[in-house]
């Protein structure tokens, strides 16, 4: 699963970002209009609120080939809908541990709060995530399921 150094050199991670319309999307836009230089591996999907970001979105992104996922929205107390991010925070906390328990490296998922004025923070979040996921290598877990059914049927690690 770990990438060899050669792979890592050629590997451009595909990162899917689910962001809220009001803060992070605007912050990312600011990063763009300010011409901040950042990694270009991220594809942004804009949603009304982090409260609208279902863990199934993250699952689907990985299923469909993402190497990493960013989920970002308004800081606590800044939510356009008052409490969407508070609800999301609990859901993400649980999802993150569940995903880890199922064997997904938590390093592939970044959660952040980025406000409309934090263009530079968005750049840092993107660059951090790309660097981290690059080091983890391609996320082949789902691809292997299709490519090599034998991998899937391999005997489980015995836990008694």
């Amino acid at each position: 699963m770990d990438a060899t150094p050669a792979d890592a050199a050629n590997f451009e991670p595909r990162i899917t970002a689910f962001v809220c319309n009001w803060c992070t999307y605007t912050g990312a836009d600011l990063a763009g209009t300010s011409r901040l230089q950042m990694a270009s591996n991220v594809r942004i999907i804009r949603l009304p609120c982090t409260g609208r970001i279902d863990p199934m979105f993250i699952t689907k992104a990985f299923e469909r080939g993402a190497d990493g996922v960013i989920v970002s929205g308004c800081h606590p107390a800044d939510c356009h809908y008052t409490a969407g991010n508070y609800h999301a925070r609990r859901r993400f906390a649980i999802f993150r541990e569940l995903a880890g328990f199922l064997g997904v490296d938590p390093g592939r998922i970044t959660f952040s709060w980025v406000s409309a004025s934090e263009g530079a923070k968005w750049r840092d979040v993107v660059n951090d995530t790309v660097t981290r996921v690059r080091a983890l290598g391609p996320f082949t877990n789902f691809r292997r399921m299709v490519a090599d059914p034998a991998t899937v049927s391999a005997p489980s690690t015995e836990v008694k």
């Binding site: 699963m1 279902d54 863990p55 199934m56 699952t59 689907k60 299923e63 606590p76 107390a77 409490a83 508070y86 609800h87 925070r89 609990r90 859901r91 993400f92 906390a93 649980i94 999802f95 993150r96 541990e97 569940l98 995903a99 880890g100 328990f101 199922l102 064997g103 997904v104 490296d105 938590p106 970044t110 959660f111 952040s112 709060w113 979040v125 951090d128 877990n141 789902f142 399921m145 299709v146 991998t151 899937v152 049927s153 391999a154 005997p155 489980s156 690690t157 836990v159 008694k160």
Partner: protein, 290 residues
């Protein structure tokens, strides 16, 4: 048992309820029973084979009991937590049901078992269960055994799994998910899975691929675990009915631990305690958020 039967007979003959839902002797061990006349009250039993969580019949997705009007239901302390969940989530009006609590000192893992109740045959969720009677009940009957000491084997396995490297955990779950035939029995039996249309049945968009392939199976088990976060009462029914023997209790346990550690919530038979998902505190921990 006489106490239970007499109470059921009285509730039915006085017309307090139109049906009593409990357990009876079936051809293969204990099974759920709907008693609709006072004479039938003698069919009711309660012993360690009464494993089933009958609260599932109360959920609005299943019309069986609704058609009968006001009903009474026999509950172990753990089943009462599911009823409390249904009341909390406004699925069952409290005044529509009479709750008959049976005092409980543990049940068998298998309702068809002919073995005596022992450390080896007890259902895993009973290991360390502190509840001997349901506080929510309108009536309490029977006497409780002493119960069984914890920790549960499931909780221990969760810890062992959590200690493995991520790729080994992935391999473990892939091998388990591989067995899943997506019969959705785990959903059907669950008292808290009461959605009229389950995410697994939705096609526009299709969040969970419908074929029993590991890709869809992974999504299914993520969805189920997430939807039951803070709602699962650890009744173990999903794992018991799974025809393929998936260790679903490991997932529900893991999530329950996260919810307990982070939000100090444990399944309770008090419907007034708010659910941990759908509520929040402004100062919830967020150490994982940049």
């Amino acid at each position: 048992m006489t106490e239970l039967r007499e109470l059921a007979r009285r509730l039915l003959s006085e017309g307090t309820v139109n049906a009593v839902l409990g357990w009876e002797e079936g051809p293969r061990g204990a099974r759920p029973a709907f008693v609709t006349d006072a004479a039938g009250a003698d069919r009711l039993i309660f012993d360690p084979r009464c494993v089933h969580n009958l609260a599932a019949y109360l959920s609005p997705r299943r019309p069986h009991l609704k058609q009968l009007g006001k009903v009474a239901i026999v509950l172990k302390p753990c089943d009462a937590k599911a009823v409390a969940g249904l009341i909390r989530e406004t699925q069952v009006p409290r005044e529509n049901v009479v709750l008959i609590g049976v005092r409980c000192g543990g049940v068998l893992a298998d309702p068809e078992s002919t073995e005596p109740l022992s450390e080896a045959t007890v259902a895993d969720r009973c290991r360390g269960c502190p509840d001997r009677e349901a506080k929510l009940a309108d009536h309490l009957v029977g006497t409780a055994g002493p119960g069984f000491p914890g920790p549960s084997h499931r909780a221990q396995k969760v810890e062992e799994l959590a200690a493995l490297p991520a790729d080994q955990r992935w391999a473990f779950w892939q091998a388990e998910f591989e067995k899943c035939v997506r019969c959705h029995a785990c959903r059907q039996v669950c008292p808290m899975c009461f959605c009229e249309r389950c995410l697994a049945d939705k096609t526009m968009p299709r969040w969970i691929e419908s074929s029993p392939h590991n890709r869809g199976n992974f999504a299914w088990h993520v969805a189920r675990a997430m939807h039951l976060a803070g709602r699962c009462v650890d009744c173990g029914e999903c794992e018991r009915v799974c025809p393929e023997g998936l260790p679903l209790g490991l997932l529900t346990r893991k999530v329950a631990q996260v919810v307990a550690d982070r939000y100090d919530f444990r399944p309770t038979d008090d419907p007034a305690v708010p659910a941990p998902v759908g509520t929040y505190r402004m100062d919830d921990p967020q150490e994982f958020i940049l």
